[in-house]
């Protein structure tokens, strides 16, 4: 390995610096575009909050997926199912109760938010256990198909009229069927501050935002604070999963990834290890789902289609499977460039020109054949950015698998031993053999 020549390179070798520089670059780009387009303070703060939201969530979820795929080699493409179970269970537990069945609305158990978050996380873990029992002994590609089928089964369950509403102990609860659930438990940020007896601090922060935004500073403040909260959660995931990966438990997981039979032969109960890692990862995915949709106001089952799973996979592959730092960087890059970037670009173009998009591809092409007018096609492209970005994601995935399947940091080999095996090159005592080295 090359040793650092300059202090700057040494600094770059540190993971925290890498993540910091990447994030700084992303934020700088977004702020600069905002300045050029004259977004104003409110617009800037909102765009930063949205960016932070997605950066943090994709980082969180790729970290959880990294535990499955990067560490243990379990090919789980049912991520979205665990996310959905997390947020749905959380919603049912924490929604305000509704007793009268005639009102047509579905209520919840009315328990505090933190109970809901805990319940959702545990429920996602339990579903993981349920899936793990039959599925983990299968080949990787079978596991993939089983998990994606499972995530669709979860969606069908929430979509189904059977579980739309039912009564438990006089309370009308349910999953709301196709029309989904209204999340009526208020702003989680406010509640968190109140629960920590920091209501005064919260009011102070809202007031602080109020000095730069005249009217209604509260939503902007909430968005920013929630972003900070999410970044904190990323930090927590990062530290916990990093420690886990370096623990004896994590080393067994890596051994399973490399060769399960060998790990088994060494006396490790690989099935138990895999199950534990799978359940833990699923619980973390459930928590990720809760954090993603807790502030969205309402949830519907069809949000949780498999493509969300593939978003997280692309983020992980960009970053490099097996590396926690890579997962965070991949999540950030995916969120900034592939997920949020095209939408940002769309709003930029919409700001600059009047987009009169033709309704079909044919109407977009016809003017080119007629008068060589490219504008309608351009408008159509801008108008369907959400489809195009998915095409781009697919192409990026193909490109990565061709050219760089290990992603940004997947080439790294994490030490399997807890003590350093290589001798340090800067030893104090002189060489007795005349100092001959291979280098």
């Amino acid at each position: 390995m090359s040793t650092a020549d300059s202090p700057l390179a040494a600094l770059w070798e540190r993971d925290a610096v890498k993540i910091g520089v990447l994030l700084a670059g992303i934020y700088l780009a977004y702020v600069l575009v905002g300045v050029v387009l004259d977004y104003g303070v409110r617009g800037q703060l909102n765009s930063i909050a949205t960016l932070t939201f997605y950066v943090a969530l994709f980082a969180l979820l790729s970290l959880a997926l990294n535990l499955h795929w990067g560490y243990t080699g379990m090919f789980n493409i049912g991520v979205v199912g665990f996310m959905a179970v997390g947020i749905y269970v959380m919603a049912v537990v924490s929604k305000a109760p509704a007793t009268e069945a005639a009102a047509g609305s579905v209520g919840g158990l009315g328990l505090p938010l933190w109970v809901g978050v805990l319940a959702g996380t545990v429920a996602a873990g339990l579903l993981g256990l349920l899936v793990a029992l039959p599925a983990l002994r299968l080949r990787a590609d079978y596991l993939a198909i089983v998990t994606v089928a499972m995530s669709e089964m979860v969606r069908f369950t929430f979509l189904s009229g059977t579980f739309q509403r039912f009564e438990v102990g006089g309370l009308v609860i349910g999953f709301g069927g196709g029309s989904g659930l209204l999340l009526d438990f208020g702003s989680p940020v406010e509640q968190l501050f109140d629960a920590l007896f920091l209501g005064g601090v919260y009011d102070g922060l809202v007031g602080l935002t109020g000095t730069v935004i005249e009217n209604n500073p509260q939503p902007v403040t909430n968005g920013l604070l929630y972003g900070v909260l999410l970044l904190g959660a990323v930090g927590l995931y990062y530290v916990v999963l990093g420690r886990l990966g370096n623990s004896p438990f994590g080393r067994v997981l890596k051994a399973i990834r490399e060769d399960e039979d060998a790990a088994n032969a060494l006396g490790k109960d690989t099935k138990a290890f895999k199950t534990k890692a799978f359940v833990l990862g699923c619980a973390l995915m459930g928590l990720g789902g809760i954090l993603w949709y807790m502030t969205s106001g309402a949830i519907t089952p069809n949000t949780y289609r498999p493509r969300l799973t593939f978003f997280i996979w692309i983020a992980l592959i960009i970053g490099g499977a097996g590396s926690n730092t890579g997962s965070v960087m991949g999540g950030a890059l995916f969120a900034a460039l592939l997920f949020q970037g095209p939408r940002f670009l769309q709003s930029v173009v919409n700001n600059l020109v009047d987009v009169e998009a033709p309704s079909t591809f044919g109407q977009a092409l016809a003017p080119i054949a007629g008068a060589g007018d490219l504008a309608p096609l351009g408008f159509y492209v801008i108008d369907s950015v959400r489809q195009l970005q998915l095409i781009v994601m697919g192409l990026v995935l193909i490109f990565l698998m061709h050219r760089r399947p290990e992603g940004l940091l997947g080439h790294r080999k994490e030490p399997a031993a807890s003590v350093e095996l290589e001798r340090r090159p800067d030893r104090e005592t002189p060489y007795t053999d005349g100092g001959e080295t291979d280098e």
Partner: protein, 372 residues
């Protein structure tokens, strides 16, 4: 001798695989329950017959498309998640042709609208009077183009995407195929628009009413077309694999690729023919499926894909008969499950079937018989 032998074999089966026994008992129990329900009149015989007909039709489509997936799965060693979107692509190319022919090449509607299969509600299949009896040339032409389009697409994608990484492991190829699926699906949505359109003149299809015990089952010309086309193609594939040198080479390659190469089988050519056969069947399957159900949307193939995986795994990867039987079982399971559970869970029941098979017999029903 015979009795003790079969007794000990039965004992082995039960002791070696208690789950299989439970699973088998469950199916027997469900069948008894069905008979009971029919006898008591809780469920009409004719409605079950309709479900069986629907299940068989869906099963044939799943089986037909599953042959291609099964072949590439065993010969190229990866689960191709883009397969569902080959179905959609084939269906769209075929239906664009059918619209073009049925629309008189622009005489009854704008050529652009016809080629985009009536994107944005610009032209409707019902208005063009499309059905296998009213516009047979358009339907046959569309079917041929659907097959050809899917063949071309799978060859181009193989050349550009899969061939350069042929030597990598199955998971790498699987992830790559997810990228292909994304790019393909949303390209289709980008070009043809997100709406789901009706494609056939539902009223104008000749129908035969077959009397069953307590009612009738209506069999349309499109049901019959689906059965004839799917059955004929399946038979063709069977003959191809059993009677030709190409089929032998394919089977050899599925069995052991290195050995096949050493024996002098031109493996890349076999791979190309695998894509041609699989792609053609897949495209036609997509086309007849749309003809049968009468609607076309950019999501159709993806919805079928998981059911096709279920069928292929159920039958045993690599076996085309497994894919066919698996398709029928999956189709019937999804269709008949509504007797017991709400219809919103019919696909879930098919997935559950797949998971149960994976637990009970991971190698599938026709295990160990690659492509034969």
């Amino acid at each position: 001798m015979g009795v003790t032998e079969s007794y000990s074999r039965g004992r082995e089966l039960v002791e070696g695989n208690p789950l299989a026994l439970v699973f088998g008992l469950l199916i027997v129990l469900l069948l008894f329950d069905l008979v009971g329900k029919l006898a008591s009149g809780a469920v009409q015989v004719s409605s079950v017959a309709v479900l069986v007909k629907d299940g068989l039709a869906r099963g044939l489509v799943i089986g037909l498309a599953g042959i291609g997936l099964s072949m590439t799965y065993s010969i190229l060693n990866f689960a191709n998640f883009a397969h569902g979107d080959y179905i959609t692509a084939g269906a769209f190319s075929g239906w664009a042709t059918t619209y073009l022919i049925a629309g008189g090449f622009g005489s009854s509607a704008n050529v652009g609208s016809l080629l985009l299969v009536g994107a944005g509600g610009s032209v409707f299949g019902g208005a063009l009077g499309i059905s296998v009896t009213a516009t047979p040339v358009a339907v046959v032409g569309g079917m041929v183009v659907a097959g050809g389009g899917a063949i071309l697409l799978s060859l181009v994608i193989d050349r550009l995407v899969f061939e350069p990484i042929r030597d990598r492991d199955g998971i790498t190829l699987l992830i790559t195929s997810i990228g292909v699926a994304f790019a393909l699906r949303y390209t289709i949505q980008f070009v043809f628009g997100p709406s789901k359109r009706g494609t056939t003149a539902a009223g104008g299809v000749p129908t035969l009413s077959v009397p069953v015990v307590d009612g009738t089952v209506r069999i349309t010309a499109h049901d019959a077309t689906l059965a004839v086309v799917a059955g004929g193609l399946m038979l063709g594939v069977h003959l191809l694999l059993q009677r030709t040198r190409l089929g032998k080479a394919m089977r050899a390659m599925a069995d052991n690729e290195d050995l096949a190469r050493v024996t002098g089988i031109p493996t890349e050519r076999v791979v190309r023919f695998t894509w041609i056969i699989g792609g053609g069947l897949t495209g036609v399957a997509g086309y007849v499926f749309v003809l049968w159900k009468g609607t076309l949307g950019w999501f159709d193939g993806w919805i079928l894909l998981l059911l096709i995986f279920a069928a292929v795994i159920l039958g045993g990867i690599g076996s085309i008969y497994g894919a066919i039987v698996g398709g029928l079982v999956i189709g019937l399971t999804a269709s008949l499950s509504v007797v017991w559970i709400p219809s919103s869970f019919s696909r879930a029941s098919a997935f559950l079937m797949m998971i149960l098979i994976l637990v009970v017999k991971p190698t599938g029903l026709f295990s160990g018989r690659s492509t034969a």
